[in-house]
């Protein structure tokens, strides 16, 4: 009984047992009263709205802007440690960094030309 995994297995069994017991008990003894409001989609107590006009299209301008910001933001974060240690890193790191920036710029050119930066 010295196997270190035995306590883990017991914990696993306890976890499954607890979940099965709680769900099972509520299934068996819990009251079941269905009505229309209960079957509707939950929207924080507000009446669920029908689909948006034009076949469910919603404007994603903010989403797109936020996505692009995060992508370029995260990529430019890599420039800081490089800039701080620039003196010690030498030519190899400079070339690597230029390649990295070119890659980012390819993405930038794509976003720009395909209208990702236009608001309307």
């Amino acid at each position: 009984m010295t196997n270190p995994y035995v306590p883990l297995l017991i914990l696993l069994a306890l976890g499954f047992g607890f979940a099965a017991l709680s769900v099972g008990t509520s299934l068996v003894v819990g009251p079941k009263r269905y009505n229309r409001a209960k079957a509707e989609a939950y929207e924080c107590g507000i009446q669920p709205t029908p689909r948006a006009q034009g076949g469910g299209r919603v404007p994603i301008k903010y989403f797109l802007t936020a996505m692009l910001f995060i992508i370029f933001d995260v990529e430019s974060v890599f420039l800081y440690p490089f800039a701080v240690a620039f003196n010690q890193l030498g030519l190899f790191a400079l070339v690597e960094m230029v390649l990295f920036i070119i890659t980012v710029f390819v993405a930038y050119a794509y976003v720009w030309k395909r209208g990702g930066l236009e608001w309307d």
Binding site: Y5, G55, R57, F92, V106, A109, Y110
Partner: protein
Amino acid sequence: MSALPAFEAVAVDYWAVAPMLVVVAGALLGVLVEAFAPRESRHSAQVALTVGTLVAAFGVLVWRSVNHHSVTFGGSVAVDGPALFLQGALLVMSSVAVLVMAERFGGVGGDAFTPMGASTPGSSQEAAAAKAGYATSEVFPLTLFAVFGMMIFVSANDLITMFVGLEVLSLPLYVMTGLARRRRLLSQEAALKYFLLGAFSSAFFLFGAALIYGFAGSTDLAKIQSAIAQGTTGMDGLLVPGVLLLIIGLLFKVGAVPFHMWTPDAYQGAPTPVTGFMAACTKVAAFGAILRLVYVGVEGSRWDWRLGIAAIAILTMVVGAVLSVTQTDVKRLLAYSSIAHAGFILVGVLAFSKAAVSGVMFYLVAYGFATIAAFAIISMVRQGGSEASHLSQWAGLGKRHPVVAAVFSLLLLAFAGIPLTSGFTAKFAAFAPAVTSGGTAGVLMVIVGVLASAVTAYVYVRIIVLMYFTAAPEAGEGEEVVALMPSIGTTVAITVGVLATILLGIWPGWALDLAGRAAQFML
């Protein structure tokens, strides 16, 4: 600010990684083409660029990289025999798959991809985009990025690099899955399922990597190997759970049971040429990574987890084979068959010998070429413009389109593992090491594997019977099912698949020899 520790530039063997650099450069160029080329010329430019890049990368690989076996980038990338063999296979297979993706049937019905990925399925925006001649030619750079990720994946010698490769190959595939022109909702649903379960599996992989780091103090496979060889590191309890989590993360990608839930949905929903690419190339990449992980990294601890993975292999073969019997959709049927094939390959992986490595690699090549050709044929068989993927629609196809039916039958026989096709040689190559060096578990797995093959053979033969000996449904029940005339690209792809199936079946010596010589891991 205190002085930083001295920076040491890692030595890079550029010729060893040159094929990967070619592919990523081609992908970046593809993005620029997408941004700057006029719309009319994009499709042809992308096809030429993509195929050119893949062929050039293969050329560089054959010309230089084969002489540059090395562990480079500070030990995180190992370019050795298996890596080069699988990278070469990936490059050839993906060029063939790209030829199928480029299919437009001379303008009848357009290509397999939606004109506008962001539009609501069936909406007026989508119809307008189709009318204006939009095309999602982004699939070609996405394919190149996916191939790049796969190439990293099979040569990753460090868990972090392996994870980066996993993500680089997965993210484009999630997008490509959701781009089908027909049945968009099904396609988007498939993409979402694939994405969520893929993200889930990445979490498993990362958790495993963290535990292994806790055990070995490094994510480098060589250091993990020596930590295991050393015996104890004071954190021994982390090893086996870590290994299992890592392997589970990778088994998700090959669709082994019980991690296969996404496979039928993703295979059915994805545009058919993408399904072919995904089925063939993702399997190669994921099994390449599994081979490297379990043969190089954690081989020393294999007695602790081998039986668990053997159980998964048996389950995979049985579930894949049995569930394929009940399928009525050709794409779902091939998805379950691919699950069964994943199980067959796992049998080979678990034999732990050099012969097993070459057997598995040979299996991947044989299966990959047949799969791409099979999905290319599925994309040709249409009813009223959309793919006739329901099995009943294939009834009587042999009378009207004898060549298409004959080729598809050959590929199905190869999947079943009938002698004189590549499937038989491949199964033999993967099962033989399991019998000779796999012990009792290996023999048991092979017995289950042969029985599962018999079950799948029934499924495949049933389709052949359906195509040749069942009368086509009466005319008047909608349009007739036809096989569209493929363009040169698809014809080449199918021809390559058929030739590979026959050649590797009748005359497999040279390929087995090549795989055998490439089967030595460097570490």
